[in-house]
């Protein structure tokens, strides 16, 4: 518990991840599921960024020629987060366009109704 309080930023990141996961499971609206997935992404980015932070150090941009690891925070998680953000944007765009196509086809965003209409069409065929 004491460790958890000390690692409160990571704990917040995990709780964000959990909120996103819960939204994915409990909402039947596709847009809300998408928002949940984005919240999950945000939690992971916060986790990675907080893992690289070191108390009292500066951002890794070399100033006045100081080149020692003691002066800067860990730059590796930042670059990983950059990769993650770009991939998250791409995935969100693809999923949104799939949602638009589904809406044009079934005129609803509710996943249950989409399944039901698809079942009826399967039976009609």
């Amino acid at each position: 518990m004491e460790n958890l309080l000390a690692n409160s930023t990571e704990a917040v990141a995990i709780i964000l991840f959990g909120i996103g996961f819960t939204m994915l499971l409990f909402h039947r609206n596709l847009f809300r599921k998408l928002i949940g997935l984005n919240v999950m992404d945000t939690g992971i980015f916060l986790f990675l960024a907080s893992m690289g932070y070191i108390e009292g150090r500066k951002a890794p941009i070399i100033v006045n020629g100081v080149q020692s690891t003691e002066a800067y925070i860990n730059p590796l998680p930042a670059s990983l987060v950059l990769t993650g953000i770009v991939v998250s944007v791409s995935v969100t765009a693809i999923m949104l366009s799939l949602t638009v196509r589904l809406y044009m086809r079934y005129h609803t965003l509710n996943l249950d109704e989409i399944y039901r209409i698809a079942d009826h069409e399967e039976a009609d065929r």
Partner: protein
């Protein structure tokens, strides 16, 4: 096999035999047409389903499944969060350096300026040490643009099935009719600053925070604001579909060839002829500046392409 008319309710109290099976048997023996068998099957199915006990069973089943789903979902969410929080409490302390995780970074920080010529260490990492990763990232963006084009492009072959209709997508003329005066005033003030800021962030990636992705995103959002305020006619002069494809193709191709040269010379111990420049100036960092520009162009085209495809179903107007 007698043909069942609507309203002719067959008695279920007689011989006990499977209804669907008897229908299938009839189909085999009498060789009746498929359509008739289908109608009979449908009739029996609806008859069984419309009886009160079956309705009750179906409702109970749905309700039971919903309750089961909710219970499993709650349990799995709580378990996941609990397990992850438990793991978090055993991680190294927040804000304290642990030597295991900074072992790789030592080389980047101590040798980065001499090896890459970039003052910004993160730019040096993503565009020099780990440039292959960034190449894959740009390709992911490009592939996403292609996927969205396949899904949302509005033309004769795409989106003209019996189910999908055009009237759900609003026509471009609809947007042109509105003269959005507030939007135009804001855009007139904002656009020059936005493009200047985007170019600054893009070109100074090796010296300050920023780089290809953030600068490209700022430029792309500038184009989005331009299209939203002045209509797509203003952006179609600059970015057509052909131009977007050419920009993406040449940027990604240049990136691949430049990094291929660096990998080839590095792997074979040859001398690298790309000058590093003085650190801190704009023309420094060797290949980082051109690669930043390439990545930024791809990102700007992709962002604007997403917006344009979602709003009107094509990148560069009616080609």
């Amino acid at each position: 096999m007698k043909i069942i008319e609507v309203g002719d309710v067959p008695s279920l109290n007689g011989e006990d035999h499977d209804i669907l099976e008897s229908v299938m048997d009839g189909a085999e023996v009498h060789d009746s047409p498929r359509e008739k068998v289908k109608i009979e099957k449908e009739y029996y199915k609806n008859y069984v389903r419309s009886s009160p006990w079956a309705q009750k069973l179906i409702r109970t089943e749905n309700k039971g499944f919903n309750v089961f789903y909710l219970a499993v979902a709650v349990v799995s969410c709580v378990l996941l969060i609990g397990m992850l929080l438990f793991t978090i409490s055993y991680l190294p302390r927040y804000g304290v350096e642990n030597p295991e995780s900074t072992a790789v970074v030592r080389r980047y920080v101590e040798q980065g300026l001499q090896e890459t010529g970039a003052v910004n260490i993160i730019s040096g990492i993503i565009l020099d040490y780990r440039a292959f990763d960034t190449l894959g990232e740009s390709h992911v963006l490009f592939t996403a643009l292609m996927c969205v084009t396949v899904l949302l492009r509005r033309d004769r072959k795409n989106m003209r099935t019996q189910y999908e209709d055009f009237y759900t997508i609003r026509d471009e003329k609809y947007h042109e009719l509105y003269r959005e005066s507030i939007m135009r005033l804001v855009a007139a003030v904002l656009l020059p600053c936005l493009f200047l800021y985007g170019a600054y962030v893009l070109l100074n990636g090796q010296n300050s925070p920023g780089g290809g992705f953030s600068g490209g995103a700022v430029l792309g959002s500038g184009m989005m604001i331009c299209a939203a305020a002045y209509g797509f006619r203003s952006t179609d002069k600059v970015i057509t579909k052909k131009a977007a494809n050419l920009i993406a193709f040449f940027a990604l191709g240049f990136y691949s060839f430049a990094k291929g040269y660096v990998f080839f010379t590095g792997a074979n111990g040859l001398e690298n002829h790309i000058p590093k420049g003085t650190s801190g100036a704009i023309l420094s960092g060797g290949l980082i500046l051109p690669l930043d520009i390439a990545v930024g162009l791809v990102v700007a085209c992709t962002m604007f392409g997403f917006y344009s495809l979602f709003r009107r179903g094509s990148i560069g107007g009616n080609e």
